[in-house]
Subunit: 469 residues, 2 copies
């Protein structure tokens, strides 16, 4: 339904501009330099301009374009938007992305009503207004009007973000780009005058390039939207995990949401209830949302809640255990027989218990021995592996041993912390092989919890479906 | 009292070794390459060895050294430690740092008792055993036996860390080094057989190079230690902030603490009560401890709890407000008269309320106008400034404007997020000028809370002192 919005063949940029730094300039430059489909700049002030070493033809109106246009990206001043959208409607565009601000969020609800009316008349799917648009790495389609020097573009990858806030979206993209996090699809939906958050969740979950959907939510724009999201999420959550972060929990925050995106914040309890019923995993911060998303994209779903903790740092294991217990995960004792065997193979002063503390004298082989002895057994559902590679006995081989333990089909999260080249190379080796790495035990524990929670979501849906059948 | 331990003039390395990678080698290399005082390698197996391009003379025993020795660093196998410590005692060392493990933490309580007995006999201050030792950037004194390729050494700076866990200490150092965080003094105290955590807190707080003391605690080794720490902390907290992170809160964690450092974890509630009574600020993670420490080292103490929030991202402001409210800080409305004035000077669609939302169309000057209008007034005690510099209107001048607002004498914390060069340069400009920057609103809010909390600690102590006088 939103296929043409996400994967257009041709795009008109209404309000395209040859003035460096302007919104119409950045969008045009991004599209002309990377987008494989047709790009039609529209601006009545220009005919043909020499830009980026080539002659770029401008159209007076989108109606002057002879070829079909799938998507109109609109970057003209707010008062002109109804008129240019009407032209785009007559041209027959399937969707429009309205980057312009100055609508309901600025008190101009009537102007936004006009946009909605035009969109209805022609059946145009309108994203925005007051949004930074869409970034789809798989289609090389990028309408984000911030230069890539400031707001980097992440690499292709299985994570998708649907976000109500433009600036937060830009910052997340920049951060993901820096870390090489595969955030392949990003949609900023702003005032939600046309395309709703629920439609986006449905469309993005349907996308075969996407494995995990993240949702940055401040409030619902429309009464009834919560119910719609609930229905859709219940359907799609069995196929792909949806993780949401809800900003605006307290009273002052709810006042701020209203002026920010012209939306109702509603009570935080309502959102929590909705997420829980809909099978949406709730994150308590943006960072946590991506910590969880990374694990869900890389790792299998555990069968239960029993975590094996292996460490070379007693201190960090203690922190991990604290958080795992708070999250309701189990840290069962080792089976007697295996513990006896391990005692013979590990260092005499290692603690053969759960957590298994190999101590600062650990070697790569000690980790291998523990993982191979315990992870294949029915006693554990997942592993939290702490590797402070600052200690002298560890080498980069450890990354291979941990990666090899993937064969047991159980989730693994690694805690690693520091900043030297040695440490960074070690982390990259793990993540390149699908093992997520976190700088603190808290974050790794929460990521494992998300895997467990998603398993529960799927089990519940399966039971409900079986009962309904 | 511990002055000679922290700032020795001469050091003997007992168990010094010419074998690359060994503990005795790394320690010797670190000391010979940087320490300005005298260094005496002790190992009966060697006479003179060519090392690092020079001839290094080894002593058979510390008793063979003619000159006075302040500190003995001991890296020999555990069973030999009582004997070499006895020699160090006869030599008249003031302090010893026992790096060796294999004592109470490995079930050898009797061996540790022997060490304690020798230390008592000669009045030697013993740090450890089972520790990674001491790093004092101000004295170029470094007994951390991990190579700096893996465990970086932080630059000189006003933060100090006292830590019970060796590996956590190494990882924190590596992380601080990478981020340029001025962690000037680091003490790992391991089994606490001699020098206690309380003595260290007192000594480090007395050090004029230190502005903020951080404490990584798993459990107290001795009954009565909690009371001693309480007494000392109450005395010193008025002069310098102490921030503590207590690992090991749940039941499984407490079991793990016992085997890790031979300490009693005790109930978490007991620790919380102790911190609160002692005026120690509690952090909920290692990362948060340093977030707070950075703010306390850079910023003044606020007079009250009222926070001005200025932002170009409505979304992030909402998150900030959520956390500030949860922490009990206030976000008061703007005074009418100033709000009216600001409405004339800011963009028509800016939200002139608290948070002040300048929107994604913000310029550097908008921030300046808001900070200059509100921060000098009696209505606000501190500012949380959110600058998503991904938006087009902001330049590096903004860092100068924010830095200039320091003249109002009120704490400022900045939220900035992303990863591009532009973003990183902006952050560096702020931090180089004493404005702490955090990647999330949550972390900045918690840092401001720590400043507020420390203000409360000081007020309470002042009242108690006035009442006692």
């Amino acid at each position: 339904m939103l296929k043409k919005l996400l994967y257009p063949s041709s795009v008109a940029v209404i309000g395209a501009s040859p003035k460096p730094g302007s919104v119409g300039y950045v969008v045009l430059e991004n599209l002309l330099s990377r987008f494989k489909g047709a790009v039609y700049p529209v601006n009545p002030k220009y005919d043909e301009v020499e830009l980026w070493g080539r002659k770029v033809k401008f159209f007076k109106s989108v109606l002057d374009v002879q070829e079909p246009v799938d998507v109109a990206v609109i970057a003209t001043p707010a008062p002109t938007v109804p008129k240019v959208l009407d032209e785009a409607g007559r041209k027959g565009v399937a969707a429009a992305i309205v980057l312009s601000g100055g609508f309901a969020e600025a008190g101009n609800a009537a102007l936004e009503e006009q946009v909605v009316a035009v969109a209805r008349q022609y059946g145009i799917k309108v994203l925005g207004p007051n949004c930074i648009g869409l970034f789809n790495a798989f289609a090389d389609f990028d309408t984000v009007f911030l230069s890539s020097e400031r707001a980097g573009r992440p690499p292709r990858g299985p994570l998708a973000l649907i976000s109500q806030s433009g600036a937060v979206t830009a910052a997340i993209m920049d951060w993901a780009a820096r870390r090489g996090l595969g955030l392949g699809i990003v949609v900023s939906y702003g005032n939600e005058a046309g395309v709703t958050v629920t439609e986006l969740v449905e469309a993005v979950t349907d996308d075969s390039n996407v494995r995990v959907v993240t949702l940055y939510l401040e409030g619902f724009r429309y009464p009834g939207e919560a119910r719609k999201l609930l229905e859709v999420a219940r359907k799609v959550a069995a196929r792909k995990p949806i993780i949401a972060y809800k900003a605006g929990r307290g009273r002052t925050a709810q006042r701020a949401v209203k002026s920010h995106v012209a939306a109702m914040a509603g009570s935080y309890d309502m959102y929590r209830g909705l997420f829980s019923q809909a099978g949406i995993i709730e994150a308590s911060s943006v960072r946590e949302m991506f910590d969880m998303a990374k694990a869900l994209a890389m790792q299998p779903i555990p069968r239960g809640s029993r975590v094996l903790v292996v460490t070379d740092s007693g201190g960090l294991a203690i922190q991990a255990v604290d958080v795992l217990e708070e999250l309701g995960l189990e840290i069962p004792e080792l089976p007697e027989s295996i513990a006896r065997e391990l005692k013979r193979e590990l260092l005499p002063f290692a603690t053969v218990s759960n957590p298994v503390d190999l101590t600062g004298s650990a070697t790569d082989e000690h980790y291998k021995i523990v993982l191979d002895a315990l992870l294949p057994t029915a006693f554990f559902d997942m592993a939290l592996v702490i590797t402070l590679v600052q200690v002298p006995g560890l080498t980069h081989n450890l990354a291979d041993y941990i990666t090899a333990a993937r064969r047991y089909g159980k989730p693994i999260a690694v805690v690693n912390f520091g900043g030297s080249e040695f440490v960074i190379k070690f982390e990259r080796a793990l993540e390149d092989n699908g093992i997520p790495v976190y700088p603190t035990p808290e974050r790794a524990a929460k990521a494992l919890w998300a895997l467990y929670r998603y398993g529960e979501v799927r089990r519940k849906i399966a039971i409900a479906e079986a009962a309904a059948a």
